[in-house]
Symmetry: C2
Subunit: 282 residues, 2 copies
């Protein structure tokens, strides 16, 4: 698990790095970015947030467009942005090379279906391998980690966070897919990676997880009202209903006029980071 630094730039008083390593989970070379706030120069351990990106993205989208560095620098938060799938010529893609399955669309599961099961293990990569790898070389406190994400990455943040509340102590999401079992993007991905037995899908569906008793601290979700995917793919009202029913604390904010883009994400990024930092302070 040798970590290679691909680039390093000073930014907002800290360091923005892009790194790669051969992943034991995926069997591929994985690239991610990590921002170290100025406090990392002296602190022995800092809280960290993992940000999971949406369909088609790599680490680069949020790293370039996310506007997270000023807030992380001020709050003393490490910001970690992994890729959204394994990559490489040996990695099987969607047969039709669609944008919503295969490369760039790992959906944060450990696939069980051939030919995807070998490499598509983003669940283990995000939950286990990446935090352990980073904690070995950075002042990262594994007991103070939060998780957040956008769209497909919001799905990953909710499912990973609800499954491991002791590992991810705070959860937030921008325009997440909350009920993949009930929407086209999710149905395609879960059937392709996990097969047609829908009982296996429940562990990767935030609504089903909450219905089955999974709990976290208060969850924060921002959703743009002008998001083109709102009605068909995102359906936050399903998560709201499940949380209300189960007594899972949720703050769901509909943001008037905002779409699905990084213009939306970057607008509310600092607010989400402050929210995580408060919950990860001690």
């Amino acid at each position: 698990m040798t970590l290679q630094t691909l680039s390093e730039s000073r930014a907002h008083g800290g360091i923005q790095r892009v790194c790669s390593h051969v992943s034991a989970a995926t069997g591929t070379e994985m690239t991610f970015s990590v921002f170290l706030p100025p406090a990392a120069q002296n602190a022995l351990s800092l809280p960290a947030v993992i940000y999971l990106s949406g369909l088609t993205c790599t680490h680069a989208n949020v790293t370039e467009k996310g506007e997270f560095r000023a807030a992380c620098a001020e709050l003393g938060l490490i910001f970690i942005a992994p890729d959204t799938s394994p990559r490489g010529e040996a990695v099987p893609d969607d047969p039709a090379a669609a944008y919503d399955f295969g490369l760039g669309a790992g959906f944060y599961v450990d696939a069980t279906m051939a030919p995807y099961a070998t490499n598509y293990r983003m669940w283990s990569y995000v939950a286990d391998e990446l935090p352990q790898l980073l904690a070995a070389s950075l002042p990262l406190d594994l007991a103070r980690m939060g998780i957040m994400g956008h769209s497909m990455g919001g799905h990953g943040a909710l499912t990973l966070g609800l499954t491991y509340p002791e590992r991810f102590r705070s959860i937030s999401a921008f325009a997440p897919i909350v009920a993949p079992s009930q929407v086209p993007w999710g149905q395609k991905a879960l059937s392709g990676y996990l097969g047609e037995d829908r009982t296996a899908w429940r562990a990767h569906d935030a609504v089903a997880l909450v219905e089955s008793g999974a709990r976290s601290g208060e969850i924060l979700i921002d959703q743009g009202s002008a998001d083109a995917f709102l009605a068909e793919q995102l359906r936050p009202e399903l998560f709201k209903a499940a949380c209300d029913q189960a007594g899972q604390p949720l703050t769901l904010r509909m943001q008037a006029g905002y779409d699905h883009s990084y213009y939306f994400i970057s607008t509310f990024m600092a607010d989400h980071l402050a929210w995580h930092a408060r919950r990860l302070a001690t």
Copy 2:
């Protein structure tokens, strides 16, 4: 001069637009971005800053990576980002398609040399056409405009600002080319666009302009100490010496460890915008 809106997204409470129009100056279709802060919904006229990008860039680089929207929203500043050259199949490029001449490298001059003279008229485009075009449809106060830029765009901001101090009331730059007549990037561009007679270059060289008596209010420059282009292409010490000699007020800040990238620009963007806003307040 019909203005076409290519995209529009809500961001930081305002509106980020990308627009195109057929330019009288360049004879081509030009694309630019403009951010309208929330105050634009009610204000009759707002101050504006034109941001000129560096080599290889389009409007998109700063629009995505510049981290200017939060500050512009708070300060009530309109932010305008034009392209760096004319584009299109009919526009002559560098014969070798190099990154530092031709497409993406207009150097903010009105070319006089064939075959560039027809389209490469970024000086007139930025100084005249674009502000007039925008003022016709937006609450933009032409009497309260500032100009800023990065690298080649810093060169453009300095030369346009020093030439038209009544039009551009505040000037700032990130890692600007300050003496194109004395560095490889500038010598290639100015000889290609303006010819070998170096007297014609002086109007497009910030050091020469200050030596010839051009003046502005205080100019702000940030320069990273780890910038790979610092010693050969940028040479801010030449501008410092010219300003000191001439009594032109200049704040030149060397920023330790910062490189030439948008990680550097975005770090100091809010600071530059506040600096412009103070000078454009009335």
